[in-house]
C-alpha cells in the first residue's frame, strides 16, 4: 500500500464519518440479469460507473435490491447526476489511492452535502482476499521457493487495515473495503472462487465489524440468472453465512483490547501491525493526538511507531511506572528515563526499568514483523492478554463489548480449510458462555472453567466462523 493511498484513506475516512451505516456485504455485479434479492439473500448491489444503460440499475431496484454506483472520485459529478436520475441508494467513491494529493479530494465534500438523497460511502484501499496462503509461487515450468525452518501458515487478513482506518477517524464506522479474488489454480470447469472463499470473506467482515464489497464473477452471475443447478448449489452454501452475518449486533461496539498502538504513518508500520493482528494480539490503534489518559486506562501495553510530544511521553512514563510495558520502535529520541542506566542493552534493543514496569526502545524499524509480533506476544504474556487462543494458528479472534458493558462477544474466523479445535482464554469472569455459528443457530451453551481471573472454554469444531457470547453474572439472568 502506498503512502499516498494511506493518506487518502485517512482523509476519506473523515468524509465517511457523516455517512450512515448501510449494509455489511455488498455484491458488485455486472449490469446483466441477476435473480431477485429474496433469492440471493443479498440486499445491496454495486454497479461500476460508467454505466452505459441506467435501466440495469432500475431493473435491480425492481428486484428488491438497494443499488450503489461505484465511481472514481474524478467521475463523481457525472455519477451523482446519473445516480439521482436512476434513483439509486448511493454512491461508493473508489480509487482514492491514485489521487495525487489528499487535498485534491476536498472538492468532493460539496457533493456529499448537496445530494442528501444519496448515501455516500468511501472505499478504503488496500483490501485483500482473506485466506490462508501457501508459500509456493508456481510458474509454468517450476516452483519458486526458499526452504526454511517450518513456518506457520500465512494468513491474509483485513483486520489491520480496518483497525488502522478506524483509528484515523474513530467516528467513521463502519469501514468499507473491497478486494480482488485470487482465481488461480482451479480446474477449468469449477467455480473460482469457491463457496468457502465467499464464506471466509463474509465472516471476516462480520468479525471486523466492517462492510465489504465482494465481486460476483460474471460467469456465476449468468449461471445464477439461468437457474444453473451447480451455481445455485454453490450460492446456497454461502447463504447461511450471509444470514449469520446479518444477525450480528448492529450497535456500536468497542473492541476488547489490552494493547495500544500509536501510529501516525500507517504505511510505515502497516506490516508490523498486520502481523500483530495475525498473531491475535488484542490491539487498537490511535493517532498520537488521540492519546489520552482515558485511552491508556484500557491498555496494559503500548507500541509506539512515531515521535511523540513531551505530554505524551510523560503519559507513557507514568503508564510504564504503574507496571505496564511501553515499546518504542525506531527511536533515537532522548527520553527522561535515560538519566538512569538501562536494565539491559542488546543488539538493537535497550530495556529500561521504570517503576514497576519497563520501556523497551528499538533503535531500528521492525525488519521482521513476524518475529516482532511473536516477541510482543511473549513479552506481554498470557496473564496480561485480554484474549488468548491455544494452538489455533489459523484462527483469528476479535472481541467486542458495549460502552460500560460487562458482556463480551467474541468473533472467531478460521482461515484454514480444516475445522479447528479452538481453546480460548478470556480475561474476566462470566456466568455463561454461549456459541452460535452458521451451522449452530443461537445458542449452544459451552462448558467453561475459571482460572486465575480468566474464563477458559473450548470450541470443538470451528469450521469457518462463530460468535461466542460471554454473559456477565450481573446480566445473565435477563438474557434469553
Amino acid at each position: 500500500m502506498s503512502r499516498m493511498s494511506i493518506l487518502c484513506m485517512l482523509f476519506l475516512g473523515s468524509i465517511a464519518a457523516c455517512t450512515p451505516v448501510t449494509a455489511k456485504v455488498l455484491l458488485r455485479v455486472e449490469p446483466s440479469p441477476l435473480p431477485p434479492a429474496d433469492k440471493t439473500g443479498i440486499q445491496d448491489v454495486v454497479l461500476l460507473w460508467p454505466l452505459r444503460d441506467l435501466s440495469a440499475a432500475a431493473k435491480l431496484r425492481s428486484q428488491g435490491y438497494r443499488v450503489f454506483l461505484q465511481c472514481e472520485s474524478k467521475d463523481l459529478a457525472a455519477a451523482v447526476v446519473a445516480a439521482e436520475r436512476a434513483a439509486v441508494t448511493g454512491i461508493i467513491v473508489a480509487n482514492t489511492a491514485r489521487s495525487s494529493q489528499p487535498a485534491a479530494l476536498e472538492p468532493l465534500r460539496p457533493y456529499f452535502a448537496a445530494h442528501k438523497s444519496l448515501t455516500f460511502r468511501v472505499l478504503v484501499p488496500g483490501g485483500k482476499q482473506p485466506q490462508m496462503k501457501g508459500r509456493l509461487v508456481v510458474e509454468r515450468d517450476g516452483v519458486l521457493q526458499v526452504s526454511s525452518a517450518s513456518s506457520q501458515p500465512w494468513l491474509d487478513t483485513n483486520l489491520a487495515l480496518v483497525r488502522l482506518a478506524q483509528s484515523m477517524d474513530p467516528d467513521s464506522l463502519p469501514i468499507l473495503y473491497d478486494f480482488h479474488w485470487d482465481t488461480s489454480g482451479g480446474l477449468p470447469d469449477t467455480w473460482r472462487p469457491d463457496a468457502e472463499a465467499y464464506e471466509v470473506a463474509i465472516a471476516e467482515a462480520d468479525a471486523n465489524r466492517s462492510d465489504v464489497t465482494i465481486d460476483l464473477p460474471g460467469s456465476l452471475q449468468k449461471a445464477l440468472a439461468a437457474d444453473d443447478s451447480r451455481a445455485w448449489m454453490l450460492w446456497k452454501g454461502i447463504m447461511p453465512y450471509l444470514d449469520f452475518s446479518s444477525h450480528a449486533q448492529t450497535e456500536r461496539m468497542l473492541p476488547v483490547v489490552n494493547l495500544g498502538v500509536i501510529v501516525e504513518d500507517a504505511q510505515a508500520s502497516y506490516e508490523a501491525i498486520n502481523l500483530m493482528a495475525r498473531h491475535n494480539l488484542a490491539f487498537e490503534s490511535v493517532r498520537p493526538s488521540d492519546l489520552t489518559l482515558a485511552r491508556l486506562s484500557s491498555w496494559n501495553s503500548v507500541v509506539v511507531f512515531c515521535p511523540l510530544n513531551k505530554e505524551a511521553v510523560a503519559l507513557l512514563r507514568n503508564f510504564a511506572a504503574s507496571g505496564r510495558i511501553v515499546i518504542f520502535v525506531n527511536t533515537q529520541d532522548k527520553f527522561p528515563w535515560h538519566s538512569a542506566p538501562p536494565l539491559r542493552q542488546e543488539s538493537g534493543a535497550t530495556v529500561y526499568s521504570i517503576g514497576a514496569g519497563q520501556v523497551v526502545e528499538l533503535a531500528e524499524p521492525v525488519v521482521d514483523p513476524e518475529n516482532f509480533a511473536r516477541d510482543l506476544h511473549r513479552l506481554i504474556g498470557r496473564e496480561r492478554s485480554a484474549l488468548t487462543l491455544w494452538n489455533s494458528i489459523t484462527t483469528l479472534v476479535t472481541g467486542y463489548h458495549e460502552q460500560g458493558g460487562l458482556d463480551i462477544t467474541l468473533y472467531l474466523v478460521n482461515y484454514a480449510d480444516q475445522p479447528d479445535n479452538v481453546q480460548v482464554q478470556v480475561k474476566g469472569r462470566f456466568a455463561r458462555v454461549r456459541l452460535e455459528s452458521p451451522e449452530e443457530p443461537c445458542c449452544v451453551s459451552l462448558p467453561f472453567v475459571e482460572r486465575g481471573g480468566f474464563t477458559e472454554f473450548m470450541i470443538p469444531t470451528l469450521r469457518i466462523t462463530a460468535r461466542v457470547h460471554l454473559d456477565s453474572a450481573r446480566e445473565s439472568s435477563a438474557a434469553p
Partner: protein, 361 residues
Amino acid sequence: MRWLKSAALAFLVLAMLPLPAILCLPQNSSFVHQKRYAMGTVFEIVIYDEDLPRADAAARAALDEVVRLDGMMSNYKPESDLSRMNRSAHFQPIRIPRELYEIIEESLFYSRHSDGQFDISVGPLVDLWKATLAGAPLPTTTDQASALRCIGYQKIELIPPDRIQFHSDCMRLDLGATGKGYAVDRVAEILNACGIHRAYIDAGGSTIYALGAPPGGNAWRVRLRDPSHKLGPEVMLMNNSVSTSEQSAPSSLGGDAPGHIIVPGTGKPLQTRYAISVTAPSATASDALSTTLLLLGPSKGVALVKTLHNVSAIWIDSDGQRTLAGDGVSFVLAGGDRPIDVSPLRNRVAPTSKAAKELLP
C-alpha cells in the same frame, strides 16, 4: 503442396532451436496447486500433468492422507493415537497403528546414531519450553530437572509387529522432527500410485520432496535457507528430498527467547548459529537428519553423514561460513560471481543398521 511447405518450415524452425528450448515449448500439461493446513503448517502440492482432473483428485487424496496422519500423530489433539499412547504406554504394552510404529522405529535409528542427541522422547521438555514461547515464565531449574528425568529413547520398547511400551512413568514422545517428513513420503507414494510423475511436495518450507522433474527441466530447483544472505545455496531435486532446520530467532525485544529445538542432554534450547539443509532419498530421512545434524553441529554431524549413503548436508552460519558433507545431491552456491557446484565430501561407508539401508537408492 502448401501444407508440405508449412510442415517443412516448422520442422526447420524446431531443428534450429536448442534442445532445452524445445522442451520448454508449450505442452498440453498444466498444473494443479493445492494446499491444506496440517501439522501446524501448510502442506502444498504442485502437480504437472496432462490429466488435470486426475491430478486434482490425486492431490486431494494425498492431502486427505496428511490430515489423517496429523490426526494420528498430533500431540495437540487429545484423541490422537500419539496422545493416547503417551497417556497409557507407561502401564503396559499397547497396540499402535502401523504408521506410528514405523515412524518411531525410524526415529530410534537416528537416536542411536546420534548418541541420543536426537530423541523423540523429548516431549516433556518441548512442552515446558513451548509454554515459554507462548508467554509463560522461563522454566525453573526444578521444572527442567523434573522433565529431564522423563527423557531417554532407551526407555522406549517397540514390540514387533505393532506394540510399544515406555519404561518411564512420565515419558511422552514428540514427533515434531519426523512427522512432516513421514507425511511427505506418504504423499509421494499416493501420487505415484495415482500415476503422477511430476510433483513438488512442500511441508511448510522445512521439508520438500520432488517427484520427477517439472516440464522442460531435469530437476526441481529449490533455494535453501542462508542466514548469511551471501551464498545463495540451491539444490536440484528429482525423486529426493531436502529438509531445513534452524533454531528460532532471538528476541527482537531483548531478554530471553528460548528456541523450539531442545537439546535432550541438557534440557535447554539449542544454542547454534547455523542453519542446516539435508538432502536424502526420503523425506522422513531428510526431516529427521536435519534436526539431528543441527543438534550435532558440523564437527560431529559430518561424522554421522559419512556413515550414510545418498545424503548431503550443508551447515551455513550467519557469517557465510559453510560446512558440507555427504555423497548425495550436490549443492550449488550462487552467491559469488558465478555459480559453484560444491559436491560434498564423498565418503562411502557401509550402512550400520537395517534402517540405514533405507538411505540406499
